[in-house]
Structures are given as C-alpha cells and as structure tokens.
C-alpha cells in the first residue's frame, strides 16, 4: 500500500522509465578536473566552505529544465557557484566581472593570427 511518499526530486530517478544506456566513454577535460579540484579544496578540513552535500542540494534545486540541460560537471560548477553566492563568499558581480575579462582574453587569442 503506497501512501503519499512526499515529493520526488527530478534527480531521484531510480525506477523511472528510461531508454538505452549510452555507452560512450567521454574524456575527462581539464575544466572538469578543475571544478572537482576546487570543490574538494573548498570542502577540505582547513576550509569547510562548500561541502559535497551542499553541492548536491544546489543541483537538486536548479529546477528540472536547468538540471536536464547541463552536463554533469557543468551542473557541479553551477551548483558550487550558486552555493558560494548564497553564502556570500563570492558575489555574482565579482564573478561576472572575472568572466567578462576571461572572455575578452579568449577573443584576443582567437584574433591572433
């Protein structure tokens, strides 16, 4: 007998219908390792700024569309950023400014013959 079991998160997929398992082997890219490295450092014994549990809460709170549209490591990056902003460790403005500067550097590289 199944009573109301509470809400089911979109990440909570055990038993859901699904298709064939995609047996790709994706390379692990540098930015992805960097995301994991930063998360690990921020959660380590000397810092304890962002835990893996908080990152999980982060991507479980994205909303289904954002969750379904991001790659696994991008979800981790976005979730970690959300938590850092939530906790006031960084601000969206600081991040945007650094991103803008970074984008300019990439474009400059592109234009170099």
């Amino acid at each position: 007998m199944q009573d109301d079991k509470g809400s089911k998160g979109y990440h909570d997929v055990g038993g859901d219908p699904a298709g064939e398992i995609p047996k790709v082997e994706l390379p692990w890219l540098h930015w992805e390792k960097q995301v994991e490295a930063i998360r690990g450092l921020l959660g380590d014994g000397t810092r304890r700024i962002v835990s893996l549990d908080e990152v999980r809460r982060g991507f479980e709170s994205f909303g289904i569309d954002k969750y379904n549209s991001l790659s696994f490591y991008r979800r981790r990056l976005e979730a970690m950023t959300d938590i850092l902003i939530e906790k006031g460790i960084v601000t969206q403005a600081e991040l945007d400014s650094a991103i803008k500067a970074g984008t300019t550097r990439w474009s400059d590289l592109d234009e170099t013959p």
Binding site: D12, P22, V24, K33, L42, R74, I89, L95, A98, G102
Partner: protein
Amino acid sequence: MPHDHEHGEHEALIIEDEAGNIDAQIVVDALQQVLIAKGLLTAHEVTAAIAKLESPGLHLGAKIIAKAWTDPEYKERLLADGRAAVQELDIPVTEARIIVVENTAQVHNLITCTLCSCYPRSILGQPPSWYISKAYRARSVREPRRVLEEFGLDLPHDMKLVVHDSNADMRYLVLPEPPLDFEIRAASDLEAMISRDHLIGVARDVA
C-alpha cells in the same frame, strides 16, 4: 550557450560542444581567480589537487582484486573492512568506508548510485560516463538483468542478483570471481585481466 544533446526515446548524455567547453573553462577560471583574490585557495593548490584526482584509476582497483585472489587472508580483511585493506596497499582512500562485495557461483553484484554518481573515486578515479547517465541510474535498480544484457552479460535465472545503491556514505567495489587458472598466473597478468566493468558489476567473467 549551445551544446549538443539528443531528445527522444533514448535520452543521451548531455555533452558539451566546443563552445560549451570553452565557456565552462572561462567560468571555472573566473571562479578560481575570484577565490584566489579572496585568499581562499592558491593556484598551486588547485594544480596539486588536479594531479591527485588524476592519479587513481583502474590499475589500483585491479591491484586490490588480484591481491585478494592470491592472498586469502588479505581477502578476508578486504571483505571485513575495505578501506583499511585498501590502505594497506598504500592506496589513499578519502571515502568514509569501502564495502567490497564478493561475487560467487550463486551471487552476482551490481553497483549503482541512483541519486547522483557516487563511486569509489579515490581508488578508481572518475566513473564512466554511462554510470552517470539517467538511463543507467534509473534502470539499474528496477531492471538490472536487462541492463546487464545490454552490457553482454546474461545471468542465469537461478543466480541471485544483488544491486547496491550507494546513496549515502558507503562506496562499493565488486570482487569478481577469479579466473579458473588464477593460481598459476603472475599478479601482473591477473591485474591486466580485470576491467572497470568487473568492478562495477556489468561484467562477470574474468578470462
């Protein structure tokens, strides 16, 4: 930012395209820069942490399994306290506990994490992309035998299949049955025969 993904009945993995990867690199670099400016970490620490993330892999898992096959007392210690036994081999383990589940002639084990992607990363490195896929996470608990068939493994109907969902603090490794001639093989030969699929449980026979 644009990226490739497929919809339809086979929900594929979301894979970043080149623009998506460049965008992500810019964002993580920006985040790192902001964090460094605040004195929360250093570039050197990030480089060192990346090197540590890159060092574990299948070779460590294979070493553990081959030793368990050839040293019965080690195997007992491994089954009793996986983390301690793995650390005996100078393999650093960051997970709280490692549980090693043994395949036998009557039992086959399969590991999954339905909620995210929990995996013994400090031993084996990053999980394969398919392990993280929605399809594997959704189906591995409900129709594991069909999942195994997709990996080319047909379990006998009377064999017991145990699925382990690593949803909390434990992490799992499957100890496959050794090949029939394991006693006459060198450790390095045995290690070469072990695949990541064996350790997750989507492959069974080591030959």
